[in-house]
Symmetry: C2
Subunit: 162 residues, 2 copies
């Protein structure tokens, strides 16, 4: 009984909270929570899924809603990004934009495995702090940043090689 949110007497998962925030955002903008948007949100906020492209999201969404179009997923993910519940990443190797749920209090950066493409998240308070100092030194205020480490697995053979 450690996370009774909204005083409603039941627990909302992190991702369920993001889905709620998305619905509230739509309402506040006079936009509609359509069947398609619900399916896309369900797919996107299904836990345990990491960084996915529009085509991956589309394919999964079409399982539940066969006529789903690419443009709908595209525009919905843009709305999610605008509302702050999703983050866009353009990694250097793929050339594709990947989307990730913007979990609260979970800021992190990424290590991209050059062997298998796997994406590992990391967080380092020391780097964050120095970054603020560096920006200030040059007369800037940090708004956002992108820090990606492209790396090889240390093990003799990458255990995730595909």
């Amino acid at each position: 009984m450690d996370d009774l949110s909204q005083g409603q007497g039941f627990m909302l998962s992190e991702t369920a909270r993001l889905k709620e925030r998305f619905k509230e955002y739509l309402a506040s903008e006079g936009l509609k929570y359509t069947r398609q948007r619900k399916v896309i949100a369900d797919v996107f906020f299904k836990e345990g899924e990491g960084h996915r492209s529009l085509n991956e999201l589309l394919a999964t969404a079409q399982v539940e809603y066969a006529s789903m179009g690419y443009a709908t997923v595209y525009r919905t993910m843009k709305l999610m990004t605008d509302s702050g519940v999703a983050l866009e990443h353009k990694f250097a190797d793929t050339g594709l934009t990947l989307y990730e749920p913007n979990l609260e209090g979970d800021h992190h950066d990424h290590i991209i495995c050059l062997t298998c493409g796997r994406i590992v998240e990391f967080e380092d308070e020391g780097i964050e702090e120095r970054q603020e100092v560096v920006a200030k030194t040059y007369g800037f205020k940090v708004r956002k940043h992108r820090h990606e480490i492209y790396a090889d697995c240390i093990k003799p053979v990458c255990e995730f090689r595909h």
Copy 2:
């Protein structure tokens, strides 16, 4: 008399050295140092120029070589990147690839001004070190990285606003 390179009795600037290395790379691969490649190298390694797109490089190159084609600049910059004398950057805001001379011993990352688009270079040993530690912790060896800080000028009005 502090930098007599190649034992030739005259000084080569940093960028002239990169141009030499590019010529050596071409020779070692059995490729040719054509008039076009020379013009592009001259333009690209002209000092004091920072991060430029293919179209900017093309426009400048055409001043000296009117019939220069985009594809030639594209392929030449790829050769420069492969040979290590140029670095490619795809910043998050532009969607364009920018090229920069890979000056020796001058590793740095970038602060991108969200107000005027200006790109400022920074280097921070502390961040570099922590990055190595972080990667090792997760079982990786750093090959390259990308660290970009998107920021606003602290002054009331950005002095570089355009």
